[in-house]
C-alpha cells in the first residue's frame, strides 16, 4: 500500500461522494486518535486510592484486560446507583429527546461529532439502562432504544465520558433540568469499577489523598513557595507581607487551589491574595494540609469527593478558626456549594461568616461557613475599604470568562464584574449567549486539561475562543480574566490558538496591581515584573 492510499486524486475529488457513510450512532465505532483521548491512570494511583483492578492498559490496544465478570459489575453498579441517586433514575427515565440540549455542548459545536450532543452522550448509558432495567428494552432491544452491553460500549464510554467537562451548559437549556454532567459522573464511576480511569484526574486525587493537595506539595515546600511570593512582592511594592501558616486561633482559614503555587499566571493571583490580606491586616491562616481547594474527586467518584474534601472542615476545627474563605477556583466551589455540607458537615463548630472589616454577614454561606473571595472583595470595595488606583492596570483591556462551576453551580455573576470594573478602566463583556449561565467551557475541566488531549481541548475550546476573538477584534481586548485555577492553565493555549495575543489573568492579580498599600514604594512594574504602562512603540 502506498502512503497516498485513501487520499483522493484531484480528478477524483471532483467525482467524490461527499456524503459521509450513513450509520446510526449506535453502530459508529470509536476511533482513538492521538490528541483526542486521555491517558489511562497509572496502576500505582489506583492502588494508593484502593480502587479495584489496578493494571497497565492502553486505549489503543484491542484488549483492555477487563475483569472476567465485568458485565455483572457494570450492571450491578448501575443498579446500585439507581437506588442511591434519585436524580440518576429520573434522568434515565424522563428525557423526551426534544433536542434542546443537542447543540449546546462546546464539544459538539467544536468537533461536529454527534455523539458529543449531550442527549446522545447520555444515550450511551441510557441505552444500556433500557436494555437491562426496563421491560420494553429487555424485550424489544434496539426498537425500544436499548442495546447490548459489549466491550465496544465500554470503549465508547471511556471516549465520550472523557469528552464531557461536566460543565452543565446543556442542563441550562433542558426543559426537564436533566444534568448530563451528572450522567457523565455516574458513567465515570462505572468505568472506575472496571479499573478504567484517566491519569490526569487520578494522579492529582492520589497526591491529594497523601499530602492534601493535587501537586503533592509538602508543608516545607508550601512554606518556601509562599515565602518566595513574599520576596517578589517586596521587590515590586517595597512591602513585606507575612505568611501565616497553620496559625491556631486565627479568625479565618484561607483555602485555595494548589494550581496557583507553581504555574503562571495563577502565581500572580496567589500573590494578589497575600497582598490583599496583608493590607487588611486580616487575622487569617493558610493550612499546609488543607492546602488544596480543588477536588479531583469530583472527576472520579462521589466517594472520592467526600474523601478529598474532608480535610477542609478537619483543618478548620483543628486550627480553631471562625470561618473559611475560599480563593479563585472553579470546581472547588461546586463541591463546597453542593456537596461539602451534606458530605462532611454539619460545620456547627464554625461561626456564621462575618467580614471583620465591614461587618457584613455572608448569609448565603450560613450553612457551609465558607465564603467566596469575590464576595469578600466586592464587599470591601462596596464599603470603600480599599484604596485603589485602577490606572495601574491601564494597559489592560479586559473581558471576563465565567467559569462553568461558579457560574452554573453557584450563580456568581456580578461580583467578579463589579470587582474588575473597580480595578481597571476598560472592561468589555463577550456576547450574551456566551457568558454568565450560558458561558462556554474552557474545554479542559473535569480532568481533561492535559497535553495529550490537546486537539480535543482545542475543538471544545472553539466556542469560547470564538467569542474572545470577537471582543479582541471589536474592542482590542488583550486580557481574559477568570476566577478558576484550571482556567488559568487551560485558557492559555486556547487563546494562543483561537485568539492569539490575548493573555489570561486571575482577578486578584488585577486587584493587587491596583491596590495602594500603606508604606509602598512607587511601583514600576506589575506583579508579572512587566512595566506598568505599555512601552511606547
Amino acid at each position: 500500500m502506498s502512503e497516498l492510499d485513501g487520499v483522493p486524486k484531484p480528478e477524483e475529488l471532483l467525482k467524490i461522494d461527499y456524503q459521509p457513510p450513513r450509520k446510526g450512532w449506535m453502530d459508529t465505532p470509536v476511533n482513538f486518535k492521538p490528541g483526542t483521548y486521555n491517558y489511562p491512570a497509572a496502576s500505582k494511583n489506583h492502588k494508593i486510592l484502593e480502587l479495584p483492578f489496578p493494571r497497565e492498559w492502553s486505549p489503543m490496544e484491542e484488549d483492555w484486560k477487563l475483569p472476567e465478570n465485568w458485565k455483572e459489575i457494570v450492571v450491578n453498579g448501575i443498579a446500585e446507583r439507581l437506588s442511591k441517586y434519585r436524580s440518576f433514575k429520573v434522568f434515565m427515565d424522563i428525557c423526551v429527546r426534544c433536542g434542546a440540549c443537542a447543540d449546546k455542548c462546546h464539544f459538539f459545536l467544536g468537533s461536529g461529532d454527534p455523539k458529543n450532543m449531550p442527549v446522545l452522550r447520555a444515550e450511551l448509558l441510557r441505552s444500556i439502562y433500557r436494555k437491562e432495567f426496563t421491560a420494553a428494552g429487555k424485550v424489544l432491544g434496539k426498537l425500544a432504544g436499548g442495546r447490548e452491553l459489549t466491550p465496544t460500549v465500554i470503549k465508547e464510554w471511556f471516549y465520550y465520558f472523557y469528552q464531557c467537562t461536566e460543565c452543565r451548559r446543556c442542563s441550562v437549556f433542558c426543559p426537564y433540568g436533566i444534568d448530563t454532567a451528572e450522567i457523565t459522573m455516574i458513567g465515570r464511576e462505572l468505568l472506575y469499577l472496571l479499573g478504567l480511569g484517566i491519569n490526569w484526574a487520578l494522579e492529582p486525587a492520589a497526591k491529594c489523598f497523601m499530602t492534601g493537595n493535587h501537586l503533592g506539595v509538602y508543608p516545607h515546600t508550601l512554606k518556601d513557595t509562599l515565602e518566595f511570593f513574599a520576596d517578589d512582592i517586596e521587590d515590586i511594592t517595597g512591602v513585606r507581607v507575612e505568611i501565616p501558616l497553620n496559625k491556631k486561633g486565627a479568625d479565618i482559614l484561607f483555602v485555595t487551589p494548589s494550581g496557583d503555587y507553581f504555574a503562571d499566571p495563577g502565581t500572580f493571583t496567589c500573590m494578589g491574595y497575600l497582598i490583599l490580606f496583608h493590607e487588611l491586616g486580616l487575622n487569617y491562616t493558610w493550612s499546609t494540609y488543607a492546602s488544596e481547594g480543588g477536588n479531583f474527586g469530583l472527576f472520579t467518584s462521589h466517594e472520592m469527593i467526600k474523601r478529598l474534601n474532608a480535610k477542609i472542615y478537619a483543618e478548620a476545627k483543628r486550627l480553631g478558626v471562625k470561618w473559611i474563605l475560599g480563593g479563585e477556583c472553579g470546581h472547588m466551589w461546586r463541591v463546597i456549594h453542593q456537596y461539602m455540607d451534606t458530605m462532611n458537615g454539619p460545620a456547627d463548630f464554625l461561626q456564621e461568616p462575618v467580614s471583620p472589616i465591614t461587618g457584613t454577614k455572608f448569609e448565603n454561606a450560613k450553612s457551609t461557613k465558607m465564603v467566596h473571595i469575590m464576595e469578600f472583595t466586592a464587599d470591601l470595595i462596596k464599603h470603600n475599604k480599599l484604596k485603589l488606583d485602577p490606572s495601574r492596570n491601564d494597559k489592560l483591556k479586559v473581558t471576563f470568562h465565567d467559569s462553568c462551576n461558579p457560574a452554573r453551580a453557584m450563580g456568581i455573576f456580578e461580583e467578579p464584574r463589579y470587582v474588575i470594573r473597580n480595578v481597571c478602566k476598560e472592561f468589555y463583556d463577550m456576547p450574551e449567549n456566551t457568558i454568565k449561565e450560558k458561558t462556554f467551557c474552557c474545554a479542559g475541566g473535569a480532568g481533561l486539561g492535559n497535553d495529550e488531549n490537546m486537539e480535543m481541548r482545542l475543538r471544545g475550546g472553539l466556542p469560547r475562543g470564538n467569542a474572545v476573538k470577537y471582543v479582541q477584534e471589536k474592542h482590542g481586548v488583550n486580557r481574559l480574566a477568570c476566577m478558576c485555577a484550571i482556567d488559568r492553565a487551560t485558557l492559555v493555549p486556547l487563546c494562543d490558538y483561537w485568539a492569539p495575543g490575548v493573555q489570561v489573568t486571575g482577578i486578584h492579580e488585577m486587584v493587587a496591581n491596583a491596590l495602594v498599600l500603606k508604606g509602598e514604594k512607587e511601583r514600576e512594574t506589575d506583579l508579572r515584573g512587566e512595566p506598568l504602562k505599555e512601552l511606547e512603540e
Binding site: L14, D235, Y261, A263, N450, M454, N466, Y497
Partner: protein, 180 residues
C-alpha cells in the same frame, strides 16, 4: 459579459452550493445544525465557514488582496485542522469550488467562449489550495507547540523563580530577594 461578472451574478447560488458541499464533509445530524443556526456564537463553525467561503469567493473574483484571502482561509483552516479529518479531507473544501463552478457554469463558459478564463480561474483556486496547505501545516505545528508548552507552563512560576536564585557570591550580595 465578462467572466468575473458571470461569476458575480451567480454568486449567491454558487456560494450556497459550495457551502452545502462543505457541510457534507460532516455527519448528517451535524450538517443540518451547521446549516440552520445563524447565530455566529451559537454556531461558530457553520458561521465561520459560510462567511469564510463567501469572502474567499469575493477575493477570487476581485483582483485578489492576498492578505485578506489568507485571513478568511486562516479561520476555516484553524477549525478544520483540529477536527476529525485527514489533511486531504480538511482541505478538500477548496476543491469543491471547482466542482460547483464546473457543474453550474462550465457549459455557459464554453458557449460564451470564456474557457481560457475559466482555466485561469481554476489555477487561482489551485494557488489558494497551496496557500491553504501552508496554513494547515502551521496550524498543526501550533497544536504540537501548545502541547509541548503545557508541560513547561505547569511549572513556569517555579522555573522563573529558580532562574532568579543568585549563584555567585556577588549576585548573592546584590540580590534583595535572596534572604535565606
Amino acid at each position: 459579459m465578462k467572466f468575473e461578472e458571470i461569476l458575480s451574478q451567480h454568486k449567491p447560488a454558487l456560494v450556497k452550493k459550495w457551502f452545502h458541499l462543505v457541510l457534507r464533509t460532516y455527519p448528517e445530524e451535524t450538517a443540518t445544525f451547521l446549516k440552520n443556526e445563524n447565530d455566529p456564537f451559537a454556531n461558530p463553525v457553520g458561521a465561520t465557514i459560510f462567511k469564510g467561503i463567501e469572502d474567499l469567493f469575493d477575493g477570487l473574483i476581485k483582483e485578489g488582496n492576498h492578505k485578506q484571502i489568507s485571513s478568511f482561509l486562516d479561520r476555516i483552516i484553524h477549525i478544520r485542522a483540529v477536527q476529525e479529518f485527514t489533511p486531504a479531507q480538511a482541505l478538500s473544501f477548496i476543491f469543491m469550488l471547482k466542482k460547483v463552478i464546473r457543474d453550474e457554469l462550465k457549459k455557459e463558459f464554453k458557449e460564451k467562449e470564456l474557457f481560457d478564463e475559466f482555466l485561469t480561474f481554476e489555477s487561482k483556486i489551485d494557488e489558494l489550495a497551496l496557500a491553504a496547505f501552508n496554513r494547515y501545516v502551521e496550524c498543526r505545528e501550533k497544536v504540537f507547540e501548545l502541547r509541548a508548552n503545557e508541560v513547561k507552563n505547569r511549572y513556569s512560576g517555579l522555573v522563573r523563580r529558580l532562574n532568579r536564585i543568585p549563584k555567585t557570591p556577588e549576585e548573592k550580595t546584590k540580590s534583595k530577594s535572596y534572604k535565606k
